[in-house]
């Protein structure tokens, strides 16, 4: 029995590995992945695995851009008529473009949006409006925190996709790199406009970034 147990993992590995390339071609459409997992064993085809990776990437990025939109909307609701208005409006417009792009990608790749969208709708607006009530510097601090989280997140996505298959994900990589640069720019604008002088800057920044990490974790999965 011990011999069998020792052989089993090796067997499993070699069987699934060898059949991986054929699986996608020969059995596409005959069993959905989950059904196969239950009855005929896990089949982690490159096609199946790649789809899961792209799914997550697009779902979480879409949720992120959607949230960022709502944050800027909240900030504009409070500070729209102040001196910071035009700056925030310009950053918001760029986020709108980002969201539009991810909407298109979502339809093209047939990715399901996260269930938590209504929640991010409200939470984003509340965060934006709440930090804006602390003043212009508070709003900028929020921007810095969020944009830093987002650009770190985009960077790790770029790393993941590059490790997977740079050729296959060329278009997606290009888009993410572009957006990462835009977010970096927003981060710098936030710093320029006095984010660090905001009340309780370091606590605010840490709390917001923790929230962003949680949001990213959940949106990837749910």
């Amino acid at each position: 029995m011990e011999v069998a147990a020792a052989v089993a993992p090796a067997v499993r590995r070699s069987l699934w590995q060898r059949r991986a390339p054929r699986c996608a071609a020969g059995l596409q459409g005959s069993w959905p992945r989950a059904a196969r997992r239950g009855t005929l064993g896990i089949c982690s085809t490159p096609a199946g695995h790649g789809k899961a990776v792209v799914d997550r990437v697009i779902r979480v990025d879409h949720a992120g851009e959607y949230g960022a939109n709502r944050i800027y909307a909240g900030q504009m609701a409070v500070l729209g008529r102040s001196s910071a208005g035009p700056v925030i409006q310009q950053m918001w417009n760029q986020e709108k473009d980002h969201l539009k792009k991810f909407n298109e990608l979502m339809v093209a790749y047939r990715v399901r949006p996260t269930v938590l969208l209504p929640f991010w709708n409200v939470a984003g607006f509340v965060l934006g409006a709440g930090t804006a009530l602390l003043g212009k510097k508070g709003a900028m601090a929020c921007t810095v925190a969020v944009e830093e989280s987002i650009s770190d997140h985009y960077n790790s996505q770029i790393r993941t996709l590059m490790e997977e298959d740079p050729e296959k994900y060329k278009e997606l990589l290009q888009i993410i790199k572009q957006f990462r640069d835009d977010e970096r720019e927003h981060h710098d604008i936030g710093l320029e406009h006095g984010a660090e002088a905001a009340p309780a800057y370091s606590i605010l920044k840490t709390a917001i970034q923790l929230g962003c990490k949680a949001a990213i974790f959940l949106s990837e999965r749910i």
Partner: protein, 288 residues
């Protein structure tokens, strides 16, 4: 039988291939090759005749391409057995007997039915998966015709009606035994698979209907269509009208309800927005 059910998938695969080898050793090699002419075969394009390996087969960690072919055709063989078994479902139900009869028509021993669960789960899941694939192909073809300009684009409600009707019509040959299948699909160990098959079918239908929602509508639309499909399926099981006309009428009404739901939701939202604006206006007036 209990020990068999507790085997983990790799071991079942090993046992399965052991059964196959014993079986093919007992009989001539012809019957396996002739199965490629089976009309029930669902994988004509990918089909390869079963290659009987020439040498001894000591381990699975060998590097030969024969292993992968042999392994691949084993799963294909399982699909072939299940497809052949469908012919016997009206008589035997979704059971191991039907699978055994299917195996017999492929020239295999009835022991091949031992590869599968004794409750017929795999047979039903295989059938559902096959139907979903057929539906996808049908919708894909329709979409091509529309793109080429050879057909009119249907309005959404008619598209949904036709898609659900086409899918449910595939149940007609097995409608007597379908209640049994439904109850088996609801068994706890089958729920992940059956739910997955159902959701991917509904997603397919909406995709070809042209759904491009990227917000919560994505979920509401699929939930509504799932409800329509399931209720219509239940009506169909009890329907005794000629060509199931009662079922299709029920379907038409449900789809109309679903469309109305969408319109009502929009109306509620507009009304809500108008009310809020009215209140804001009143507040401004009062405060000034």
């Amino acid at each position: 039988a209990v020990a068999r059910c507790q085997l983990s998938p790799p071991w079942r695969a090993l046992q399965a291939s052991a059964v196959l080898r014993r079986v093919s050793d007992e009989q001539k090699k012809e019957p396996l090759a002739s199965s490629s002419q089976q009309q029930f075969d669902s994988h004509p394009a990918d089909h390869q005749p079963e290659q009987e390996p020439q040498g001894p087969r000591p381990s699975y960690t060998g590097q030969g391409g024969q292993e992968s072919e042999d392994y691949e055709s084993e799963e294909q063989l399982q699909h072939r057995i299940l497809t052949a078994a469908l012919e016997f479902v009206p008589e035997h139900g979704w059971t191991a007997e039907a699978i055994a009869e299917g195996a017999k028509t492929l020239g295999l021993s009835v022991a091949a039915a031992g590869m599968f669960h004794s409750d017929g789960s795999e047979l039903i899941l295989h059938f559902v998966s096959q139907c979903n694939t057929k539906l996808s192909e049908l919708l894909e073809q329709e979409q091509k015709l529309v793109q080429l300009g050879e057909a009119e684009k249907k309005p959404t409600d008619q598209f949904l009606r036709d898609a659900v009707e086409a899918r449910l019509r595939m149940l007609i040959p097995y409608i007597e035994k379908w209640p049994q299948a439904l109850s088996i699909l609801l068994l706890p160990h089958n729920i992940p698979s059956s739910l997955n098959l159902l959701t991917s079918m509904i997603d397919d239908i909406w995709h070809y209907a042209g759904d491009q929602s990227t917000d919560f509508n994505w979920y509401t639309r699929r939930a509504v269509l799932t409800g329509v499909y399931n209720t219509t399926e239940l009506v169909m099981i009890q329907d005794s009208s000629p060509d199931f006309e009662d079922t299709w009428r029920f379907l038409e009404n449900r789809v109309a309800d679903a469309m109305n739901m969408g319109n009502t939701a929009n109306q509620v939202q507009s009304t809500g927005e108008a009310v809020v604006q009215g209140l804001m206006g009143a507040a401004v007036t009062v405060s000034s």
